[in-house]
Amino acid sequence: MAAKTLTIDGKQVSADESVTILDAATDAGIKIPTLCHLDGVYDVGACRLCLVEVAGISKLLPACTTKVSEGMDIKTDSERLRKYRRMTLELLFAERNHVCAVCVDNGHCELQALAYSQGMDHVRYDYCFPKWEVDNTHTLFGMDHNRCILCTRCVRVCWHIEGAGTKNVSGRGGKARIITDLNQPWGTADTCTKCGKCVMACPTGALFNKGSTVGEMERDRTKLEFIVTAREKKQWIAD
């Protein structure tokens, strides 16, 4: 394993060649906004919030899926990046029906927190107001497609931490949506172990404990990372 030397926001950083720009920046104490990234599962670069500028490359690169290389000169914050991040957030808000004031995740939502931190004070695009349903068939959990941003965190924890493979993505573009088993009501999905990892992973109010009311969904996502680390390092007792 070779170490690479690079510059992030003017700061000299040394990182192993196997890590991503996001990991290297996090280790160096530099925060890059993320949404689909979740500690403990692999990255897919779906949300485009972590885009960074790399000197010599004209297009923006996602920090979560781009490996570090020798001599990289990276900017994680610029007017151009802020503009793109705001635009991405606005598009996410316009795409489905996000009504923070009455959402179970109000005050704990990563999408909402990012909108605040990135200065998204309004949405310039027409809202799509799609008609999505709520799947409340499961005994413990509900899934509200109106609030889903298709980050696929739930799919990844279901397949790669729990190993159940219940959740998946069906359809393309505006019709893409999270499904359970063979596109059937969640309550009838035999593979679901009711572990709740998907609910824990969800960055918005799309997955929730049934019966939750406004702002009641608080999640401890560090548990997911702990499960993976504990499994790999055989540490079965939390600190």
Binding site: V102, T137, G187, K210, G211, T213
Partner: protein
């Protein structure tokens, strides 16, 4: 020539409305209609949502009485779960409702209505408002504003915020009263009592000098409806429904509020987004009934708290013996008595250790596919009726709100006042101000009743039988 007068928009009410006054061929007022001209569609767009979200969604109907919707939605949720909520949760909900009654009634009396009867009907509109009141009697205006603040504090102490607290939930409430919160509420009580006393003193003078208003501002026979305890004591959050008539006789008692649809019908008129509920055994429109402070005091036999009961007896005397108090101008008086009993009840709760309990929330699945939640909102009885599927998703929502139930009475009030003042084919200025106040007696909340949004301007039209608009006055 016959004509129609339209007042559009109507001011200092919570919402946007228009008034039409119909004239007959002899040039006399034949009828009047209070139209609510905006529409929001809460009942429709809530379909498909989990019922547990309704205490979060429905308070957004209104910024004045979000607590009423919160509590009715939570109660409807209790019914769907088919649970008895923990006793502490019931008391805490009641405490919040009392805070709501105080703050909303203080707003109605001091901010919205007092400028009319304290500054005088014919004071120019630019001065006949809360700012004019501040200019003429700063101490009174400040005390009124602070009384409202007290009610808001009760709500904030319990729910964490004054407006739209997401605190009551199906099965109970999310948090108890704290020692610190109890101390905060207690500290307000002496001032709240003092302001209420000032308001009563003031009201006595108003009553002496406004005998004509008592006679003509919505003084007509009707039914009255409100919640009462089993012994007929005034209720605001539990109990059963009672109907009385204008002679003061009980015509139906201890009706199960969950089965309101067995005795309340809703009539739809094409001229307004506001539906007109009626007592169905008497049919439409004979089953017209009034709700709110006047009705609650008419159906009750006592207030159940000592200070308020003293005033209650004086109030009942205005009904001359056994008959009900039928003038809508006396809604203001009833509102003050309800503020007083609410303060007394808040004070009593301050000594109740159960309000600090940790047993606050019952848990259950879907045990009933229909649930009705009923609570007395400041303006009258509020019904939330939800039908859900097996998964708890709403399939049908029906909200019956106080202002809707007072719709027919408001029409009659406008007609009665107009009959007194309209002569010929023009809208006289004195009538405009008084018709507005006639509506204001009911403290209507149009955003609640149609689940509508809007400003509060005034538009009156005078309309002939052939539909011609003969005279029109608008101000905004």
């Amino acid at each position: 020539m016959a004509q129609r007068i339209i007042i559009d928009p109507v001011t200092r009410i919570e919402g946007h409305a228009k008034i039409s006054i119909f004239m007959d061929d002899a040039g006399n007022v034949s009828d009047a209609e209070f139209h609510v001209v905006e529409f929001r569609g809460f009942e429709k767009f809530c379909e498909g949502r989990p019922y547990s979200e309704m205490p979060g969604i429905t308070p957004r109907i209104c910024g004045i009485c979000p607590v009423s919707h919160l509590l009715a939605a939570a109660k409807a949720g209790d019914a769907i779960m088919a649970v008895s909520i923990p006793p502490a949760a019931d008391k805490l909900r009641r405490l919040m409702n009392l805070g709501q009654l105080i703050q909303s009634h203080a707003l109605s009396f001091f901010h919205l209505s007092a400028p009319d009867f304290l500054l005088g009907w014919d004071t120019p509109q630019a001065k006949r408002n809360v700012f004019g009141l501040i200019a003429s009697n700063a101490d009174l205006a400040r005390a009124g504003i602070r009384l409202r603040q007290f009610g808001q504090e009760v709500i904030q102490v319990l729910g964490g915020q004054k407006i739209h607290p997401a605190w009551a939930v199906p099965g109970g409430v999310r948090s108890a009263l704290t020692e610190e919160g109890r101390a905060r509420i207690r500290a307000w009580l002496p001032e709240a009592y003092a302001t209420t006393k000032t308001a009563f003193d003031l009201w006595k003078k108003v009553l002496d000098s406004h005998k004509k208003e008592v006679e003509i501002f919505g003084n007509f026979p009707s039914l009255f409806m409100g919640l009462v305890e089993p012994d007929g004591t005034w209720e605001h959050h539990g109990g059963k429904l009672r109907f009385t008539d204008s002679s003061g006789s009980i015509i139906a008692d201890q009706l199960d509020p969950q089965k309101y649809y067995e005795y309340i019908g809703e009539s739809v008129q094409t001229s307004s987004y506001l539906k007109s509920p009626y007592y169905s055994p008497l049919g439409f429109p004979d089953g017209m009934y009034r709700v709110g402070p006047l009705a609650r005091l008419n159906v009750a036999e006592q207030m159940g708290t000592p200070k308020a009961d003293v005033e209650f007896k004086k109030f009942k005397k205005l009904g001359r013996g056994r008959s009900a108090v039928t003038s809508s101008f006396l809604y203001h008086y009833a509102r003050l008595i309800e503020i007083l009993t609410s303060i007394e009840r808040v004070e009593a709760y301050m000594d109740d250790a159960e309000l600090l309990s940790e047993d606050l929330r019952a848990d259950a699945g879907i045990n009933s596919l229909r649930g009705v939640g009923v609570s007395e909102a400041p303006r009258g009885t509020l019904f939330h009726d939800y039908t859900v599927d097996r998964d708890g998703l709403l399939r049908k929502v029906n909200l019956i709100v106080a202002t809707g139930q007072n719709n027919l009475a408001m029409n009659q009030t406008v007609a009665q006042i107009a009959r007194h003042y309209v002569r010929g084919n023009t809208i006289p200025e004195p009538m405009l101000n008084r018709v507005e106040h006639g509506i204001r007696c009911y403290d209507p909340c149009l955003s609640c009743s149609t689940h509508a949004i809007g400003q509060m301007p005034l538009h009156v039209q005078l309309i002939a039988p052939d539909g011609t608009v003969l005279h029109e006055v608008a101000r905004g």
